[in-house]
């Protein structure tokens, strides 16, 4: 199927009447996913949004329930967002990150109704990356610029139009409802050419990385590798696969609500016990945790690397700590510094 670029606003306007539609929107110097009220709000020119689409499903701050406490008991009212949503213009790396996060929020024992309800009620329309950035390394971590994982429809930019690939039944139903025209053979060929031409120039060699992480927890590499890190947590807040959170109460007298907020393994208080003991005493342990979690623990638990190669942590680190370099150093690490 195909949709002309000039028809996009109209297509979105129709969706807006039925769904809450999120799309990349220009906000100051950033592009961010926002709910849009008009099809003309969308801006697909940026390589990617400042924050990943993760925040639509797992907001930075989210109310879990409200309560009212009396002498007889406590009335607890959960606040689930059941609104039907469409995410338009999500990049393949960010769409794939949600497939990874599904493992966490739907684990072997518990289901997170807040995240999963939003996931179930959302249609994902992705847009492939014709010109990946120099900091993109999706192909090194099992992704690609036109990866379809986590998507219902994928748009391929062929110049004046988007060739629409149907990925799922949900996507098919939406495309049919929008009466998208069939793509001509020439359009299909143009799309195939665009996909072939899109190259991710940056390659990170992760061969043998997991084998090293399986054994190098106590090796001296970790004494060095974190030294530049300020522990600011920016990488964790911008990462599409980071999922750590805190739970706090916001209340006045007997009425209030419980809220969860993003948290970060980069912060000392994150693991601080009530006794004062802290299992991760310094930045060394905290930085090691970040790398271990993404490239070893997540692999052990879910058979997937918890990194989609979006490059946000590289672009936004205040001290230019580059995860690609870190991974290379870890891969080359030795049990002893002098060996």
């Amino acid at each position: 199927m195909i949709i002309s670029k000039k028809d996009i606003p109209g297509f979105l306007d129709k969706l807006i009447s039925e769904y809450q539609v999120f799309a990349p929107v220009q906000e100051g110097s950033f592009t961010l996913f926002k709910p849009i009220s008009s099809g003309t709000d969308v801006d697909l020119t940026a390589a990617n949004t400042k924050l990943p689409a993760k925040e639509i499903f797992f907001p930075q701050s989210e109310k879990l329930f409200s309560y009212n406490v009396t002498e007889e008991g406590a009335k607890v009212e959960e606040t689930l967002d059941e609104q039907k949503k469409v995410i338009f213009g999500v990049r393949p790396c960010d769409a794939r990150s949600l497939v990874l996060l599904d493992n966490v929020f739907d684990n072997d024992k518990f289901q997170d109704p807040y995240y999963l309800t939003k996931r179930a009620n959302t249609i994902m329309i992705g847009i492939g990356c014709n010109t990946p950035l120099s900091t993109c390394f999706c192909t090194s971590v099992n992704g690609s610029p036109f990866d379809t994982k986590g998507l219902d429809l994928l748009l391929v930019d062929t110049g004046d139009a988007y060739v629409v690939e149907v990925i799922s039944d949900k996507g098919k139903a939406l495309a049919e409802q929008a009466s998208l025209a069939a793509a001509a053979d020439a359009d299909k060929i143009a799309a195939a050419k665009v996909k072939e031409a899109a190259t991710v120039t940056c390659q990170v060699n992760i061969d043998g990385l997991k084998d090293k992480l399986d054994v190098n927890f106590y090796w001296p590499i970790w004494d060095k590798i974190h030294e530049k890190c300020l522990g600011c947590g920016a990488c964790t807040y911008l990462c599409p696969t980071c999922h750590c959170f805190d739970i706090v109460d916001d209340a006045k007298d007997c009425n209030g609500c419980r809220v969860r907020n993003w948290d970060s393994c980069a912060f000392p208080i994150f693991t601080l016990h009530g006794s004062g003991h802290n299992p991760r005493t310094s930045n060394k342990e905290r930085y090691r945790q970040r790398i271990m979690h993404k490239f070893k623990y997540f692999v052990d638990n879910f058979n997937e690397i918890a990194c989609v190669g979006c490059g946000r942590c590289i672009n936004n680190c205040p001290v230019n700590l580059d995860i690609r370099v870190v991974l290379e150093d870890v891969r080359g690490s030795e049990a002893r510094l002098d060996s």
Partner: protein, 279 residues
Amino acid sequence: MKNPYLPLPMKLVKNFTETEDKLIHTFTLQFLSEEDEKSFPYMPGQFAELCVFGKGEAPFGMASSPTEPGFLKFSIAKVGVVSTALHLMEEGNMVGVRGPLGNYYPVDELKGKNVVIIGGGFAFTTLRSLATYMLQPEHRGDYGDITVIYGARNPGLLLYKEELAAWDQNPNINLVTTIDSAVDGWNGRVGFIPSVTEEVAPSSENTYAIVCGPPVMIKFTIPVLEKLGFPANRIIMSLENRMKCGIGMCGRCNVGGKYVCKDGPVFTRAQLNELPGEY
């Protein structure tokens, strides 16, 4: 989909000052209905997120045993925002409880075995739950000899003093209590847990050791147990790490790839030997 974040309202019926230093209180919470109680089927070693509405929630192991119906008991030190608020609560107030969470002591695997329970300080809470469970007449026959080695800095810091006195007279359990240094009027042992364990622990043959206590006690007790011939898969420990969600999602209590909240808190020494020491 069951929402694992929603607390069950419970009534605080007793706020009891457990230790002489007044820093540990034992809270008895009553279920508001039979239905509520049925929704909370737990086993010794499990924990719950206990909340003071308006202050927040924190994880605590259940000190009561499932063989004691109608209520839950928690023994809690006053250290942070939630525990301080709890200490100040009046009987009759409402609190919230979310759980039961985590795994539990392997009460089935322990059947037909001797059990030595080793506890230090106020980490005795879930061990009390386990001992109470095993001592229950319908369960007692399932287990061999039960030995409890329990130490505190001084007699005033021992939890559950009345119960300890009763166990002392009970032929179904061999209780050894110890304090760090001698005081007048103390008839029990004097000495640290590791040395007392070395002296009084039963033979490691067909025996499981369940250990819970402060890190320094664990550090010196494990080598003693190993010396006594306990294999790593028969040394069982309960870990504690800072937690929030209790359901393996919020990401802070992991030890290696395992979450203390979801995959623990009960681990064997053999399992922990495979993990980094981040606890």
